[in-house]
Point group: C2
Chain length 79, copies 2
């Protein structure tokens, strides 16, 4: 499981992936800022399959995703 409580720290991500996930595959992005209970930034992507994946916040595509969040649009089918 990629999500688990982590001993004395309450981090959510035991492992992270750097593999690119195309926007059409996920519904939302959860960001856990650095705080006293987990001393690193965590980014969790919720797939449409409802699975959650922890992604590495230092990977270029994730950095760019975070920067683009305010304007992010997913590809839509024509209508």
């Amino acid at each position: 499981a990629l999500l688990e409580a982590n001993g004395n720290l309450s981090c959510r991500c035991a492992k992270t992936t750097r593999v690119f996930i195309p926007p059409r595959k996920y519904s939302s992005i959860e960001v856990w800022p650095v705080g006293s209970s987990c001393r690193r930034l965590e980014v969790v992507i919720k797939l449409k399959s409802l699975e959650r994946l922890c992604v590495d916040p230092d990977t270029p595509w994730v950095k760019k995703l975070l920067q683009d969040l305010p304007n992010l649009r997913k590809k839509e089918a024509p209508h």
Copy 2:
């Protein structure tokens, strides 16, 4: 309830608030990009009380929060 399914569109936020929420009050931020099932950006803040609040993505403090996400740190107690 601020969260509800929304007729033909699957949006999560029936209402949003513009009221500032200090970072120490929340644990994470959920961002739902614009997509075919909900045609607006949605930003949901998860309070430490586990309550979720939909915030207006066009409000200045929320815009700034989204921009700062990659580097956001919450105030920590000294250690």
